[in-house]
Symmetry: C2
Subunit: 188 residues, 2 copies
DNA sequence: CCGGTTCTTGATTGGTCAGTCAATTAAGTC
DNA sequence: GACTTAATTGACTGACCAATCAAGAACCGG
């Protein structure tokens, strides 16, 4: 039943399935067959659309980063100085981004950046944009925006890391509180 | 040439080689053959001593954590309240622990904790001990030692993460500075 | 309804690798 | 110097898997 225009739908399904499978497995050792089956198609089709397993992973990683970026952008406008900071931080722990499977996948894609130059590039872009957003939002509120932005970024990553490595359900509000408490201290 | 008592030597060599190979590759996708060859023996011998690839990884992970613990313990005695904090933090960025291969291996072993319950257990013990150390050292210096200890732990992890994910030589002193700056703020 | 395009998969292939086993070597022991 | 025990490896296997390919199925425009 070849409905035309299946390409974007299939690709989206594969990306979704890849995130889910990597997140569930907690590892990049996931077969293309697993991903394809989860997305409701044959492994051959997955190769047809993406060409290779790594391309699937890269697309999934880009997707996670893009969704995160959109969440930030959505919260940014208006708000005023402190409101922008809160929006950026809140985006990091919004339900869409802060689910076990997503965060687990995120960690594994981070590790992928050690291996794949393309993954490293994606990550660098994301890091730079996050930092830039933070620096702008911090300007005027704090003597050294660059330094605070760096600390905030690292702290967010660390909190992510610990959230996914701690057994039991992940606690977004506790994570958010840690970052906000730091920010309150830094702003005085 | 079977010299007796080879077991501990062989095991140590394998652990070392595993850390090096995983660190270099930036991935747990390292063959037993690679590790064994790097350690100067046949793959069969590696299996003979460890039984499985996962056991090699777990031993390597335990080794990294043990070395870190020893570095902390070495710096702890005497020093006074603030000195103890500095000792714990300094241990995290001491040259022995803070080398690219080691940190890269560390990141991958963290990811392993998502898969292997034993790895998760190792990590939990390490997290608890670190936190306990920090809480004791912070007592009296800060209104809420538990909270500051949690933030410090997360921040250290995040700084590690970013250090290894940033291309170019890793900068221990910059990493140390970030954490110390936070601590200075928290102590006021 | 025909030729082209897109979609789809079963079957296959080529390669890789963890783990096993049988056999060999060289100590130590009495 | 026979026996035990530790050390060591080459060869093998059983499984798994990414990627390919050829062929079938359904839509389209003319």
């Amino acid at each position: 039943m070849p409905k035309l225009g299946a390409k974007p739908i299939r690709k989206a399904a594969l990306i979704n399935a890849a995130i889910l499978e990597v997140g569930r497995a907690g590892s990049l050792d996931v077969t293309v067959a697993q991903i394809a089956r989860r997305a409701g198609m044959s492994p051959a089709l997955a190769h047809h659309y993406f060409g290779s397993k790594e391309q699937i992973f890269l697309a999934a990683m880009a997707y996670i980063l893009r969704v995160y970026g959109q969440t930030v952008a959505q919260g940014l406008p208006g708000q005023g100085p402190r409101g922008r900071l809160d929006a950026i931080i809140a985006a990091s722990f919004a339900p869409i981004n802060f689910q076990r499977e997503t965060v687990s996948a995120w960690l594994n894609f981070y590790a992928l950046a050690l291996t794949s130059p393309q993954a490293a590039r994606l990550l660098r872009v994301y890091h730079l944009r996050l930092r830039s957003n933070l620096v702008v939002a911090l300007r005027g509120l704090v003597p050294d925006p660059l330094q605070v932005a760096g600390t905030l970024g690292a702290l967010i990553d660390g909190v992510y890391l610990r959230a996914v490595l701690t057994p039991g359900p992940i606690d977004a509000s506790a994570a958010l509180r840690v970052v906000q408490t730091y920010l309150d201290e830094a702003l005085t």
